[in-house]
């Protein structure tokens, strides 16, 4: 009879209780429960996740982005608004030049209008300009013409007037030289191609340099301090002792530096991209190609420079035993960074050239020189090579000090003590 058959024995093994003391976490079978992810990658991933989900970090990033975007929006609004410049003239030639300039300006940018207002002479022109009713006074002076204003001649106006004066002069000169304007024009087209606005260019370079310097200083200080603080956090809580027994300290350092570098770089690239978009809406949009090249170099320098700094900040953290020590152990770094910051736009001439080869200072100085068009093609490459070498040496020495000081819990160490301490 089939109904009397016993329960199939196949079910029995399942009913056997597990071996005592061997629950899920102690079960054998290493294949699925083990992982080959290199420890530094695990550390780096944690650093990135912790930083990227930090509220203060998110807020400060958004605020900075809003600031940059705000600059772009302001520029856009500025450029879409029709600007009318009144130019005081005291001679009919002047009035004719102004109407030529108006035509040129409209051709370039239809939001710019220029109109002439005839005045009797200098005192009247001066009164008009200083009273704000005219942007400038165009009058003959020396060989050519002079545009006199109360403070600065607006860029659009200046370019247009210059162009008009040039065209008029060309016509006259061509006629007197017995040649045609066309024959001469090719040579002048280059001069009129807005590369002669040297004063503006220098100002733009200055602004961009300060932007680079600020970006770098902000990132280095912010992330540097965070790296140092996270090292002390682990050290103070002795978490580092648990980690040190699990993975080589070299991996901990590499993960920290790598993770923070990635997130700092991500932030800077984001800022730079939004900044470039903002510039494209500004009156400097014609300089975008040159600026983009400089920005790419800046990002390259940033990667290498930040890597070295991140390592040094980690060492500064390892030298401290408590959060309170951080201020003094990071002091040499913050001082150096401030020097770099001021040197980046305070230096000129030979000093600026030298700075563009000095590691860390070159992060800002070299892209600034590239932007100004002062560099030969090989210069950034050599300078970047010097910085890469510096970063490599820093990482090697930093790793050594880091390892030696990380497990020292008796007070604050000096950089020298840590370097000479036994392992």
């Amino acid at each position: 009879m089939t109904t009397t058959q016993p329960t199939p024995p196949a079910r029995l093994p399942r009913q056997q209780p597990p071996a005592p003391g061997r629950d899920a976490h102690t079960a054998p079978g290493l294949d699925a429960s083990r992982s080959d992810t290199p420890p530094w990658l695990i550390v780096a991933t944690r650093e990135i996740v912790v930083r990227a989900t930090n509220r203060a970090f998110i807020i400060s990033t958004l605020l900075t982005l809003a600031l940059i975007a705000g600059f772009g929006a302001f520029s856009l609004w500025q450029s879409s608004r029709t600007t009318t410049y009144t130019v005081a003239v005291s001679a009919p030639e002047g009035a004719r030049l102004v109407s030529d300039a108006a035509a040129t300006a409209r051709q370039d940018d239809d939001t710019v209008a220029i109109e002439a207002r005839t005045v009797a002479g200098e005192p009247a022109a001066r009164a008009l300009v200083e009273g704000g009713d005219a942007a400038a006074w165009l009058h003959a002076g020396g060989e050519g013409w002079t545009l006199t204003s109360a403070d600065e001649v607006p860029l659009g106006l200046r370019t247009a007037v210059e162009s008009a004066v040039r065209s008029a002069a060309l016509e006259t000169n061509a006629a007197s030289a017995g040649t045609s304007v066309e024959a001469l024009e090719r040579g002048t087209t280059v001069a009129v191609a807005r590369f002669d606005g040297e004063a503006i260019d220098a100002g733009f370079v200055q602004v961009a340099t300060i932007a680079f310097a600020l970006l770098f200083l902000m990132a280095a200080m912010l992330f540097g301090q965070q790296i140092a603080a996270s090292v002390v956090e682990e050290k103070q809580s002795r978490l580092v002792e648990i980690i040190a027994t699990a993975i080589p300290l070299r991996h901990l350092l590499a993960g920290k530096v790598g993770g923070n570098s990635v997130i700092a770089l991500g932030q800077v690239v984001l800022f730079a991209a939004v900044g470039l978009v903002a510039v494209s809406f500004s009156e400097w949009s014609t300089l975008l190609p040159a600026l983009s090249t400089a920005v790419v170099w800046f990002v390259l320098y940033f990667i290498v420079g930040f890597f070295a700094l991140a390592c040094l900040f980690a060492v500064a953290g390892a030298l401290a035993s408590r959060m309170e020590d951080l201020q003094s152990t990071t002091a040499p770094l913050t001082t150096a960074l401030m020097l770099v910051y001021f040197a980046s736009f305070g230096l000129s001439g030979t000093a600026a050239v030298i700075a563009s080869y000095v590691p860390i200072a070159s992060v800002v100085s070299m892209p600034a020189r590239i932007l100004a068009g002062e560099t030969a093609w090989w210069e950034p490459i050599v300078s970047l090579g010097i910085m890469a070498a510096f970063a490599a040496v820093t990482v090697v020495i930093g790793e050594k000090i880091y390892r030696r000081s990380l497990l020292q819990t008796r007070g604050r160490l000096s950089w020298r003590e840590a370097y000479t301490a036994p392992e």
């Binding site: 005592p20 061997r22 976490h25 699925a32 429960s33 420890p39 956090e233 699990a246």
Partner: protein, 309 residues
């Protein structure tokens, strides 16, 4: 190699003894640990006892490789311990602390992964331990929001998760309530029953006496006693309590007997010469009534005071 057992015994199965030999550590002029030797046999719960500054933490840190060794060595399964061996040990440092602003689950999984566990394995191990120690509902909380006792439990999980092959725990019971001590003790016994050697330090002598099969007593950087609690007791001088009907002051004059304490009609005595108790008792009966004469089982605290004196 004959002096520390044959290899088959020390590497029973996949488990090994943890041994320190002539370990020394100097901090400048100060010798914090001075020639310390002892063995934590596989599968044993070994209590590491000593006063403040005796050198327990320093010894444990050297065992775990977070403090460099001035002289001596640490052996695992009879051979010098390597960093790879240490990676498989669970360690709980003296000072507590985890990432205060990270959720409990996340950081335990992180620590598990650093020890080579996969994310899935680390997660399930953490969750089952949290459940077991009554913290299942706190998995998503930041560590800083937990009470100190609960932070301690989290720290314990960090040490015991992922099948450690040995455990080195510095004061694992401090700050735990009696219930937590019990569940913690069960957890440790589970590991020792699987063959894991467990070394833990404590100043709670009653606790050590209750839990440990094996004891190492440290004083001023030196091992002053080692063995099972019973072995330690046998080295102690036998004490007897004597209660008389009259004054017990005369016992001070009996030869071969040391009066540790005399209080009115009762006295605590150490028998220094075997047989002296017979003379003592005879004299006592001659003088009056003997209400009590009993051997005293020494407490660990008493032994501790003796050996560290």
């Amino acid at each position: 190699m004959a002096d520390h057992g044959d290899l088959d015994q020390t590497t029973r199965g996949e488990w090994a003894d943890l041994e320190v030999r002539e370990l020394r550590r100097d901090f400048g002029e100060v010798r914090a640990v001075d020639g310390v030797s002892f063995t934590v046999p596989a599968g044993s719960l070994t209590g590491f006892v000593g006063g403040n500054g005796a050198g327990k933490t320093t010894t444990m840190r050297m065992v775990m490789g977070v403090l460099s060794i001035t002289a001596g060595e640490v052996l695992w399964g009879g051979r010098p311990i390597t960093q790879a061996d240490r990676r498989q040990l669970g360690y709980m440092p003296e000072e507590r602390g985890l990432y205060p602003k990270q959720p409990v689950l996340d950081q335990l999984v992180y620590l598990g992964r650093l020890r080579g566990m996969s994310t899935g394995a680390a997660r399930s191990s953490v969750l089952s331990h949290l459940e077991r120690l009554g913290l299942a509902d706190r998995a998503r909380d930041h560590v800083e929001k937990l009470s100190l006792g609960n932070q301690q439990r989290v720290q314990i999980i960090a040490a015991v998760m992922g099948r450690p092959r040995g455990l080195v725990l510095d004061e694992p019971f401090s700050g735990l309530d009696p219930q937590a001590v019990d569940s913690m003790a069960d957890l440790l016994r589970e590991h020792t029953s699987n063959g894991v050697p467990v070394l833990f330090s404590s100043h709670q002598l009653d606790l050590v006496e209750r839990l440990c099969e094996h004891l190492v007593v440290l004083s001023r950087g030196k091992v002053v006693a080692t063995g099972t609690p019973d072995e330690l007791r046998s080295t102690s001088v036998a004490r007897h309590r004597l209660v008389l009907s009259g004054d017990a002051g005369w016992v001070r004059d009996v030869g071969g007997v040391h009066a540790v304490d005399v209080d009115g009609s009762s006295a605590l005595l150490e028998i220094l010469v075997p047989g002296a108790e017979r003379d003592l008792l005879g004299e006592a009966l001659r003088r009056g009534e003997v209400r009590e004469f009993s051997p005293q089982r020494p407490t660990l605290a008493q032994i501790y005071r003796e050996v560290t004196a």
